[in-house]
């Protein structure tokens, strides 16, 4: 465990030195400030729109962060040939993957928490109430981001970085669709489409902005179950990524 944490901290430091993470974080904060500047025109529940757009912005931000953080890690290590000495002696392939993943996950979680605090500040400055479920919702967004990170790592082991981003975005979009909606994309082959949809995650479990924006109570048990589901899918995607990585010949 200790080698993994040491490698994760090395990864964290190297990611913080990159401009990508700062660029995406600044874009998220600018978007949040922009949402706060939208005039209310006397609408009594303007805070609802701020929350709705703010949480939507954070969800898109978590997707962009996952791609920006992880799509280049392994290809860069391979191109610079740093991956070979690392996995030759000090770390196994599993520890390499876990170290890289934990480092990126820490950065992603910190960025999401900063986004959540930014949204709270904007709500307070506009004299709107802060819903108590905002923090659990951010927790759910963090888990969604970790799952997307695992997906990006999986794609990075067998595709190029330019292909990684569209594949992840495509998965993000189709995983939000219901079974009937997905089958509707190709109604002539319902069997194949239904089977394909079964293999995809149900990312609609992370959709929590609607009840929060409308002031409805979401049971704490749901947050817990959704987080467990997201973490389980993350573990599964990491296991698939590891299986692909173990198969790869790095010579």
């Amino acid at each position: 465990m200790r080698p993994v944490m040491t490698f994760a901290l090395m990864t964290l430091r190297s990611l913080l030195r990159r401009r990508t993470i700062w660029g995406i974080s600044i874009v998220i904060l600018i978007a949040l400030v922009g949402i706060g500047q939208v005039p209310g025109y006397g609408v009594s529940n303007q805070g609802r729109f701020m929350l709705d757009f703010g949480l939507f912005g954070l969800e898109i931000g978590t997707l962009l962060l996952a791609i920006g953080l992880a799509s280049n890690i392994y290809p860069r290590d391979r191109e610079r040939k740093t991956v070979m000495p690392i996995i030759a002696v000090p770390l196994s392939r599993g520890q390499y993957l876990m170290g890289r993943f934990v480092g990126a996950a820490l950065v992603q979680a910190a960025a999401m928490l900063a986004g959540c605090l930014g949204l709270m500040v904007i709500l307070m400055l506009n004299e709107h109430a802060i819903p108590p479920d905002l923090f659990p919702a951010t927790g759910l967004l963090i888990v969604e981001g970790w799952f997307l990170l695992a997906v990006v790592f999986f794609f990075s082991f067998w595709t190029s970085p330019p292909l990684n981003a569209p594949l992840t975005i495509l998965l993000f979009i189709v995983s939000q669709m219901s079974v009937s909606g997905f089958v509707g994309l190709l109604p002539t082959a319902p069997g194949i489409m239904r089977t394909l949809r079964l293999l995809l995650p149900h990312m609609d479990v992370f959709h929590i902005k609607d009840p929060i924006a409308h002031g409805m109570d979401v049971p704490g048990l749901y947050f817990l179950l959704a987080m467990v589901y997201g973490l389980s899918y993350m573990v599964f995607m990491l296991a698939v990524a590891l299986a692909v990585f173990r198969k790869r010949d790095l010579k």
């Binding site: 392939r93 599993g94 219901s178 079974v179 009937s180 239904r194 089977t195 949809r197 079964l198 293999l199 149900h202 609609d204 479990v205 959709h207 929590i208 609607d210 009840p211 409308h214 002031g215 409805m216 979401v218 049971p219 048990l221 749901y222 179950l225 959704a226 467990v228 589901y229 973490l231 389980s232 899918y233 573990v235 599964f236 990491l238 296991a239 698939v240 590891l242 299986a243 692909v244 173990r246 198969k247």
Partner: protein
């Protein structure tokens, strides 16, 4: 590797069934909670502006401005809000399936890690 992935896919297909889709598995009672306005609402009268009625599907208050619209209590299902309530947070009958899928995914992950490690050792 191909065998491992095929094995995982078969398990996933057989385990995680379509019964996750709320639109497909929701009971008629759950779907029927959406408010349907009865035609017989003549008793409202034009002069009555804030009258509550016994309604077969839920309670509503008429628009104080006197229009034909009526307003529901916060949290009560309204017309055309199926998309809102057909989400996992509102459909507690699929929460058990989330737990089931989580267990299956963790088991699959464990199997994959063990199998891929075993194959790597034997290369």
């Amino acid at each position: 590797m191909r065998n491992v992935l095929t094995f995982a896919a078969i398990l996933l297909i057989s385990a995680c069934r379509t019964d996750y889709d709320i639109e497909e598995v929701a009971t008629a009672e759950f779907l029927g909670q959406d408010h349907v306005h009865a035609d017989s609402c003549e008793t409202c009268g034009e002069e009555t502006t804030e009258v509550e009625h016994d309604h077969p599907e839920g309670e509503h208050v008429h628009d104080p401005a006197g229009s034909d619209r009526h307003i529901h209590e916060a949290g009560v299902r309204n017309h055309g809000t199926e998309w809102f309530f057909n989400q996992p947070w509102a459909a507690d009958f699929i929460w058990g399936k989330m737990v089931r899928d989580s267990v299956i995914l963790v088991l699959l992950a464990t199997g994959l890690i063990i199998l891929s490690g075993y194959r790597r050792k034997n290369r």
